[in-house]
Amino acid sequence: MRIGKRYRESILALILLLGILPGYSFGTEVQIKSDTIFRLFERDTSSEDNATVLPGYEYLQVDAGELEEHGVSFHLYGWGRNDFADSDYYEDQTDGELLYGYMEYSQEGNRFNAKLGRFQTFAGVANDSVDGLYLGGALGNYFDLSLYGGQPVALDSKQGRSGDSIFGGRLAHHLGMHYEVGVSYKSIENDNKTAEEMLGFDLSMYLPADLSLYGFSSYNNETDDWAEHSYELSIPIGSIPIGSVVIKPYYQHFNYKGYFDTGVNAVSPFNWLSQTGEKLTAYGVNALWQLDDAWTLGAKAKFFSYDELDNAETYSILATWQGEGLTQYGGEIGHTSANDTADNDYTLVRLYGYCDAMAGQFWLDFVSADLLLTFYDKDIYGEDSSFFMSLGTGKRFLDDALSVTLSGDYSQDPYYDDDLRGMLTMSYTYDKE
């Protein structure tokens, strides 16, 4: 496990701190969610061909404190795995991870929010896991500010954690339902050397005729290059005979030098891309036609234009039907024409279904099915197609607190012949006020 001693001590200290805070003792509410998963399949390992692999996973989430109202709360989520077949399949891989574990305080009225511990932060250019402190809140009616600092979890496996740091924040200005603009900053150091220093700008504008414009740009301050521009317009068309249509044209531009050059943080297979001088411009449109409460039809088209490589494009159409509860059936067919860029084209077909309306009619509560077919224009390892199918079913017990699901999938593709895998999932939710 990579859950270090220092971190375990920190978590323990946080729990103790929660316990001694006056008026905020544990017991206000406790929620525990557990997913226990067993899988069964065969793989070639370093010591055996067709070795049986039988991993058991536990994904555990604990939330305690003021969960329904503003106040103090504690949140933890992590997983662990054990291969009961004792194969070599997972050698050199971590067998568990603490994804987050933090104490949180939130306040009504000014949106003040503080997190201490391991947390995920989404703040403009940041989408990072941090061991440290987060502070955010409103600065009056028109501004929001969020700040974070600590050690980046992403670097804990790279030459230890000494000298690693991350800090940054986002300042946003908003005017009612007219617009919101944000500027953000993130700096990451690995062993006291700058790994990343990014600046960001994000935008939402709510225009007349229900038009909306969303956008994001980022700038690599280390290489002095723009990294990304992504902007999308949402155009609702309400006045048609049946249902409603939303059309979303978008534009994206990536400068590989600014986007992929993350200094000492750069990893394979991306680190060489920053040296190619490539610039990618992508534009396209998504269109969704909501016929009624049940039917949705959609179409997508995206075009890729490169400075160095030949162009590429993807097209797809989709249809979904939504019934009671989570019942849904749908399908999608798409084609990627990569020309010389990827040295291949492919067509993907997906059909899926989830029937949630079986309770009271059968002993089982739901069934699911998924089918994916891929056809490659050029063979991959001598195969010109992939076939994947999964089937599943399950039943809920204890007033839906416990769900037991059994599923399996079969794949025949360029990498695996006749690959059959089984899976048993038991999901349990405990909630006590």
């Binding site: 795995r81 994804l99 987050y100 306040q107 000014n110 995920q120 403009g124 809140g137 409103a138 600065l139 009056g140 009616n141 929001d144 500010l145 700040l147 992403a154 670097l155 800090f167 924040g169 339902m177 900053y185 939402s204 969303y214 994001f216 301050n221 002095d224 999308e232 986007y259 993350t262 943080n265 990893v267 297979p269 991306f270 891309l273 998504n286 909501q290 997508k300 890729f304 989709l318 979904t320 860029t341 990827a342 291949n344 492919y346 997906r350 899926y352 699911s368 998924d370 994916l372 891929t374 992939s386 599943g392 079913t393 399950g394 599923s407 999938d409 794949s411 593709d413 360029p414 999932t425």
Partner: protein, 157 residues
């Protein structure tokens, strides 16, 4: 270049300003911590705009409607409206796809939830050879740091 030696001082100053400002100012709107559960609602709505205005007084709920393409287009809404997402989704829900540290890819961990949009369905090992060359930026967004690239390192080194 931004002078890095100034950042600890600027950060401390910003923290002090934030705390002081939050202590004295009231903002226009604070979203509830949690959305009412299905059990609390007499009729379970399918989309946000069954009950809320697409452009409400405080929140543009229209941008949070989980349309058929929401799985691939929710980035701007999530970036600017984390508190709105958090009313229904805890971070663990996001981690299924975004953390890339849960080992099981989302379409496998939630194999029976075929109604959920999930990246890398089916035989993505073959398709990623093409997708990765067409648009490596989309790979990098989730697999671009030493920890999240561990799943790539097995083959790519």
């Amino acid at each position: 270049m931004v002078n890095k030696s100034l950042f600890p001082i600027l950060t401390l100053l910003a923290v002090v300003l934030l705390v002081a400002a939050c202590a004295g100012l009231q903002s226009s709107y604070t979203p509830p911590v949690k959305h009412p559960s299905a059990a609390d609602l007499e009729e379970v709505p399918k989309v946000c705009t069954n009950c809320h205005d697409a452009r409400g007084e405080n929140v543009a709920y229209g941008r949070y409607v989980h349309t058929a393409d929401f799985g691939t287009s929710h980035r701007p809404a999530a970036t600017q409206g984390e508190a709105i997402c958090a009313m229904c989704h805890q971070t663990s829900f996001c981690n299924d796809c975004h953390a890339t540290r849960v080992e099981l890819k989302p379409s496998l961990k939630n194999q029976t939830k075929t109604y959920r949009s999930a990246p890398h369905r089916g035989d993505y090992l073959s398709r990623h050879r093409i997708d990765g060359r067409v648009d490596p930026t989309s790979c990098f967004r989730c697999h671009g740091n030493p920890k999240s690239a561990e799943s790539c390192a097995k083959c790519h080194g």
